[in-house]
């Protein structure tokens, strides 16, 4: 009651934050660091290199990411909405640069810009952040005080906004990220109150486009092969289906308690490629067993739960839509990544948020968490 009559004192900076979310993210980063270390240790030892090289870089990425995330959390809420268009434009420019001759293909993915000094960046990761913020902004203008669901025109505008980075990313081609963007759009639109007809229509359109893309050969052979071998695992045991089957073998063989950190035979035997990036979950499954993998899932669940809570308690629709967008992003990407290692999703190039090794993704993810914290702070000022 007293809070109503007396203006509340601003709480300490730390108590403004959602500590549970912070701890969960920190837990994921810590666990992820151990997994990255284990995944890369043997390979580095065999090549007479520093076995902790990847671990160190991963920790540095996390540290930098935390700083950037802190900035995102501390930035003035209103300026978020002001700078949204700038961030959106910047990411689109970045995506265009990737497609230009300046862009580089690293590890088979044509999605990088090399900055020099050993640094490279993946604009697509930041495009996710930009899209979430941009859509939240578009759909929340003038909406408060009145319950107005987005009109058709608003939806079209949002789709148009999303289409640009999606098309650019599709040209790379990076199908996985496009799918994540699709689900971000769906998530944000859903929470914004757009009519079910629109949502249904979008889903249908998405399905048609996917089928059409496969039929018209827009996808590369290897992408088609991945889907084919996902549908029929026996198709090509040493080709497209190899990684998937090896991942399942590694995870399954971990059993209840796993083989122990650094003791994973498949991991140290290099049976699974891209283990410190896309297939990082297999390390958890093999070495930490069901217990460890469940712990990882639990931490992710906590992050998602807190994000949803932040969305529910948001004081304005911008915050709600932002939180919903971030949750959709993390939920879908995590599901695709883990599902791929478990064999219930086709192989895509999506990393696991907070756990996979990769600077751009880590920064983008931590910025997103920072934004969540920002919304939380805002709704905490009562």
């Amino acid at each position: 009651m007293s809070a109503l009559l007396h203006p509340s004192r601003p709480r300490s900076a730390l108590r403004q934050l959602d500590l549970v979310l912070l701890l969960a993210v920190a837990g994921l980063i810590a666990l992820g660091s151990l997994l990255v270390w284990s995944a890369t240790r043997q390979r580095m030892l065999d090549a007479d290199l520093d076995p902790q090289a990847f671990l160190k870089r991963h920790l540095v990425n996390a540290a930098i990411g935390l700083v950037v995330g802190a900035i995102a959390a501390g930035v003035d809420y209103r300026s978020l909405q002001t700078y949204a268009p700038l961030v959106y434009l910047a990411s689109c420019v970045g995506l265009v640069v990737v497609l230009s001759p300046v862009g580089r293909t690293i590890n088979g993915a044509h999605s990088w810009i090399v900055l020099g000094g050993g640094f490279q960046v993946q604009p697509a990761e930041f495009a996710k952040v930009a899209l979430v913020v941009g859509m939240a902004m578009l759909l929340s203008e003038h909406r408060d005080r009145r319950d107005i669901s987005p009109r058709g025109g608003d939806v079209m505008l949002v789709l148009g906004l999303a289409a640009v980075p999606m098309a650019l990313i599709l040209l790379q081609p990076d199908l996985g990220t496009v799918l994540v963007l699709v689900f971000i759009v769906l998530g944000v639109l859903t929470i914004s109150g757009a009519s079910v007809r629109w949502l249904g229509g979008l889903v249908l359109a998405g399905a048609i486009v996917s089928v059409g893309a496969v039929q018209l050969g827009v996808l590369d052979d290897y992408q088609v092969a991945r889907f084919a071998s996902f549908a029929n695992p026996d198709l090509d045991p040493s080709g497209a289906g190899y990684n998937a089957s090896q991942a399942q073998i590694a995870i399954g063989s971990g059993g209840l308690l796993g083989k122990g950190l650094f003791e994973g035979t498949q991991t140290s035997g290099r049976f699974i490629p891209e283990q410190q990036t896309d297939f990082i979950f297999t390390v958890a499954g093999e070495e930490l067993g069901l217990v460890g993998a469940s712990l990882l899932l639990a931490l992710l669940a906590v992050v998602l739960w807190r994000g949803l809570r932040i969305a529910a308690l948001a004081t304005d629709s911008f915050g709600r839509l932002l939180a919903a967008g971030v949750v959709s992003w993390f939920a879908f990407q995590s599901f695709v990544n883990i599902g791929m290692t478990l064999g219930i999703m086709p192989v895509t190039g999506l990393p696991l948020p907070f756990v996979s090794y990769g600077g751009s993704a880590m920064f983008a993810n931590l910025v997103a968490v920072g934004l969540l914290q920002n919304v939380h702070r805002r709704s905490g000022e009562r």
Binding site: A3, S149, S253, G255, L256, L297, A314, F332
Partner: protein, 702 residues
């Protein structure tokens, strides 16, 4: 929608502070709830799948994880050696350089490997077309040469001794330019080596690739799909003991196949050494005697005109009378077993089975079946006496012609009334015609009684004729006893054909009449059949080995032995498994009668006997029986079945030369030469003095 009071108050507070009111609409809440449910569903799905993999599937995946990493490397077991009774190595292994071609790799080339084959042909000297044929898997419609092994295995196309400089240079040419020879590989491989040359080739046999349909069967358990197994002779019948068991090394590898460790090793179990009862020196004596006899026979004119004796083939069996251990087995023509090392070419194999060249691959000692002729008289004489119809000391007429059937004696000789001993010594046919004919009459003649006695038939069976001896060699023939049952069965089988031939206008009158007669009553057992049976002619067939066991039973007092070539198996750890002599049965002949027969046979080699000339001056007392088999369309078969020494028989020697004239002319002198070679003569020591194999096994295996 009613808002709760708390919310109203909070809204009011916000208004006071000029802050926007949160718009928590029902729709929004619902949508958020939907999102929550979706997220929960995703997480639950992941958890469920994780459970499935890690709890339900832990065992399967655990195994798969191991299998991923474990590579089995086979450590082949060396094949056992084969040595003779005194330890002389007959078969051993040596290292060879082998050039192989893997067809599937070759066909992955753009021109299906034609250029590679051309280059290979240039190096090893075999025409490219032949190479292409050699690597084609055998199948319907595929002609020789072809590959009888698995289509995915490398096919050996060239093989050189490891010390052969020419072969080595060829292999090096391939190795130096490996990129020009995709699908071609060179390797060291163990191959069979025959230090005694072509000695005892038929007994030893040879190796050939395991057939597709044989891999994984119980008989060939553990043999890899590119393995060699015994295909003939002792290599085949003792293949399992000789091949041993391959060892396995389990290596741990990573994804790239690099070895990261070892998980265990099962040492290979080397093949056992096979000690034969065959004696190399006696074998040498037998083979040489056979060759010389055939060469000599070919200079002798045939008895009934028609030029010289053809002497197309022959065989010798030397066996221990008491135990059935085979000391020598020769077959002519023979071949060099080296031809099978590295695989016989189609041409080589065709030559080995070519009938016009005597089909050298056939092992006449066990696969050749011939009419025993007069050598059978010991059985018919014993049957006649044991039937009770003819006394042992009786005297019988030996006319030149046997009245009831009109059959003649040899050279129509007329010897008057003689005793049974003389009938055997001089081999009077008409005495035995009489035995056979009168027994046939007693059984009803043309209208046979319900159960005819036919005393010669059961005794022939008791002596092991008409069934396999059970020798430890493959593909043994069982021969034939041409009794009533045989006649009946043959008639039933061929009747339809012959009846059709009776009315076939394409055949001449005579042939049609013969067919008609056979069609009508070809199953009748006639008097002529009985007389023929008594002297070992007609359709009765025996192998030289069967005859040897028969005469051994007479020599050793009535035990029908199971002959064997192997004496013992010696494992690598020194364990010995000896092959014990096995008595198949006791011949139902009174010992006194057996003694009588031995004595009569002893007289055959004495002056007055049919083999007197051959054994004149022999220092060993040999007992035996000549035989001259008449064969429709061919010259006579020359037989001599014997044992020695008469007083205490140690060895049985049976010799046969197909189209070799009379028994006394060719076979008997051949056997004399063999006995001289075994027991020794004045001035020349024998190969096996005393005729007995050493009691001890040969010392440490070589």
């Amino acid at each position: 929608m009613a808002t709760s009071p708390a919310v109203d108050l909070q809204d009011a507070a916000r208004d006071l502070r000029c802050e926007p009111r949160p718009v928590v609409t029902e729709r929004s809440t619902l949508r958020l709830f939907v999102l929550q449910v979706m997220v929960l569903t995703l997480l639950a799905t992941l958890l469920g799948r994780l459970w499935f993999l890690q709890v339900e599937g832990a065992d399967d995946y655990g195994r798969a994880a191991v299998e991923n990493r474990v590579r089995e490397v086979v450590e082949p077991a060396p094949r056992g050696e084969i040595v003779d009774a005194r330890g002389v190595t007959l078969v051993r292994n040596r290292t060879a350089l082998v050039v192989t071609v893997t067809r599937s790799e070759l066909h992955a080339e753009p021109d299906r490997g034609r250029a590679v084959l051309e280059r290979l042909a240039d190096v090893i000297g075999t025409p490219a077309a032949t190479l292409a044929q050699q690597i084609t898997p055998c199948g319907t419609g595929v002609v020789q040469p072809c590959w009888s092994g698995s289509p995915y295995q490398p096919v050996p196309v060239g093989q050189y001794d490891a010390s052969d400089p020419d072969g080595l240079s060829k292999v090096l040419r391939i190795e130096e330019r490996r990129e020009q020879f995709p699908g071609v590989a060179t390797a060291f491989a163990p191959v069979r080596d025959y230090p005694q040359g072509a000695l005892a080739a038929h007994v030893l046999g040879y190796l050939g690739p395991i057939g597709q349909n044989e891999v994984g069967t119980e008989q060939y358990a553990g043999v890899p799909s590119d393995g060699l197994v015994g295909r003939a002779g002792i290599e085949a019948s003792y293949d399992e003991a000789l091949r041993g068991t391959d060892g396995v090394k389990e290596l741990l590898v990573d994804r790239l196949g690099a070895v990261t460790g070892s998980r265990g090793r099962t040492a290979p179990e080397p093949g056992q050494t096979l000690v034969l009862s065959i004696d190399a020196q006696v074998q040498q004596v037998a083979e040489q005697a056979l060759e010389r006899a055939i060469a000599r026979a070919r200079t002798i004119p045939a008895r009934n005109g028609g030029g010289l004796l053809r002497a197309d083939s022959g065989s010798v069996v030397v066996m221990e009378a008491a135990t059935g251990a085979l000391v020598a087995m020769a077959s002519y023509p023979s071949y060099d077993p080296q031809v099978f090392v590295g695989g016989a070419s189609a041409k080589e194999y065709a030559a080995l089975v070519d009938e016009s060249r005597g089909a050298p691959l056939v092992f006449r000692a066990v696969q050749g079946a011939y009419a025993p002729a007069s050598t059978f008289k010991v059985v018919s004489a014993a049957a006649a006496v044991q039937s009770g119809d003819y006394p042992l000391g009786g005297r019988f007429d030996c006319p030149g012609v046997f009245g009831p059937t009109g059959q003649r004696n040899f050279d129509s000789a007329e010897l008057g009334v003689i005793d049974l001993r003389t009938a055997l010594v001089k081999s009077c046919d008409t005495v035995f015609y009489r035995f056979g004919y009168e027994q046939w009459q007693r059984d009803g003649g043309s209208s046979p009684v319900a159960e005819p006695r036919d005393p010669m038939v059961p005794l022939a069976k008791a002596f092991g004729l008409g069934e396999r001896t059970g020798v430890d060699l493959p593909s043994e023939r069982r021969g034939t006893i041409a009794d009533r049952a045989y006649r009946q069965a043959l008639w039933e089988q061929t009747r339809d054909n012959r009846c059709a031939g009776a009315v076939n206008p394409a055949l001449d009158e005579q042939r049609r009449r013969a067919n008609a007669e056979y069609c009508a009553d070809g199953n009748r057992y006639r008097g002529g059949d009985a007389t023929n049976f008594a002297i070992g002619q007609g359709d009765t067939l025996v192998t030289p080995l069967q005859l040897a066991t028969l005469y051994a039973a007479i020599a050793n007092g009535g035990s029908l032995m199971q002959p064997h070539v192997a004496r013992a198996l010696v494992a690598s750890d020194g364990r010995v498994r000896e092959v014990a002599p096995h008595v198949r049965s006791t011949v139902p002949v009174d010992p006194g009668l057996l003694g009588f027969l031995r004595d009569a046979l002893a007289g055959v080699t004495q002056p007055g006997g049919t083999a007197a000339g051959a054994f004149a001056g022999s220092s060993i007392a040999v007992a035996g029986k000549t035989g001259t088999g008449e064969v429709a369309g061919k010259q006579d078969t020359s037989w001599f079945a014997s044992f020695a020494p008469v007083e205490d028989p140690a060895l049985v020697v049976v010799g046969i030369v197909s189209q070799g004239g009379t028994g006394g002319t060719v076979a008997a002198p051949m056997v004399r030469e063999i006995y001289d070679g075994i027991f020794g003569t004045a001035g020349r020591p024998g190969a096996l003095p005393g005729g007995r194999l050493p009691q001890q096994l040969p010392g440490a295996a070589p």
